[in-house]
Symmetry: C2
Subunit: 223 residues, 2 copies
């Protein structure tokens, strides 16, 4: 990078951090647990959200902000589950920024429990942008390979939770879930690890329980 | 983006384009076919290159430039096939730029046939950076889903070739190869489409034959 590029990036990240801090403050005050989902394209973010929507139905109020370069496809899938969804199409940009989330926030119902933010499918750039979330989850699908954490360390380092997805495909693949989580834990000790097959509904209950617990903690801290 | 960011990006892309044009000119003069491989992380770029190395052995001289954020893992896998490989670790940057390729080029053997450039695993940012390649291939693995071309249009629009990878997994997935290629062709008419399973060696001969033909055309044009 040139000196000018470095300065622009520093300004950009600085402004983003400030806006994200304001969003986090507002969401905590409203008692809403915000979760930022990060992964490569096609790792199963939307399918996981569909599966969580089935679990939370009638018990919790959830909403989704969908980040995509183009199309409303993901928001339409979420709405079909009866869950409110806002689509942010970045029109080429490779990540969401806090100000984009901030614009949507005013329209989000006040009585929400969970706000999931599905980032643009990209294991690199979104990792540098705080969106004001309470929890950051990185998804790694089994077909992507167990060698990915060290190749894309920032995504794993910045996450609180690792979700190994598409576990139903493991028997057909050269993928070792233990190796993937060990490598991720060597980058970020303390990372919580879950393994799911959202298509088959396996492991999603445990993950839902974890989010419910985290919501409880957020609200106790507020009280 | 702010006005300052737009100006920096325009300058960056302008400089990159110029360096890429010089690289293309040099490679054509040397009769080397350069191929830029673009995809999400874990779509099978390195496994495809290993499989091509087996096909070209004793018949063609191939070399690989590996782009990764961190680790030398991919270059080591290629070298284990007896193919010279240069690792560019970008240290956080989300794509290769022409100047990075230019620095490696001086050390590339003069008597080469194919130079493959494996870009950083990212279906977004690398699409904006010409590396001086003759052919750009975008890979889409079946587990990523057949809805990806319209969600990440720039990668497909900028490519000459679409390679549908991991076809061995199709029976286990909600993935329709015809739908994926139709959608990609609606973005970029004339795109050449191949379907491969590099793990099983299926479809790789057809792709290798296509590269050999392209090499022949490059050298005829030069003569």
């Amino acid at each position: 990078m040139t000196k000018k590029e470095v300065i622009v990036l520093r300004d950009l990240l600085g402004t983003n951090k400030q806006v994200a801090a304001e969003i986090r403050c507002e969401l905590r005050a409203r008692g809403i647990l915000a979760v930022n989902l990060l992964s490569s394209p096609g790792s199963g973010k939307t399918t996981l959200l569909e599966s969580l929507a089935d679990r939370f139905r009638d018990r919790f109020r959830m909403a989704v902000i969908e980040g995509d370069i183009e199309t409303e496809r993901d928001a339409e899938r979420i709405r079909a589950k009866g869950v409110p969804a806002w689509q942010i199409t970045t029109g080429g940009a490779c990540h969401l920024e806090a100000r984009m989330v901030g614009k949507v926030l005013a329209g989000v119902p006040a009585d929400l429990d969970f706000l999931f933010i599905e980032n643009v499918g990209n294991l690199v750039c979104p990792a540098s942008f705080d969106l004001g979330e309470e929890l950051r989850c990185v998804l790694l699908s089994s077909p992507e390979g167990d060698d990915k954490p060290k190749k894309y360390p920032q995504a794993f380092l910045s996450a609180d939770v690792l979700i190994l997805t598409k576990s139903d495909l493991v028997p057909h693949l050269p993928f070792d879930p233990a190796k993937a989580s060990e490598e991720a834990l060597s980058i970020k000790p303390g990372l919580r690890v879950f393994q799911v097959s959202a298509l088959r509904g396996e492991g999603v209950d445990e993950l839902a329980a974890f989010f419910i617990e985290a919501l409880g903690r957020l609200r106790s801290a507020r009280a």
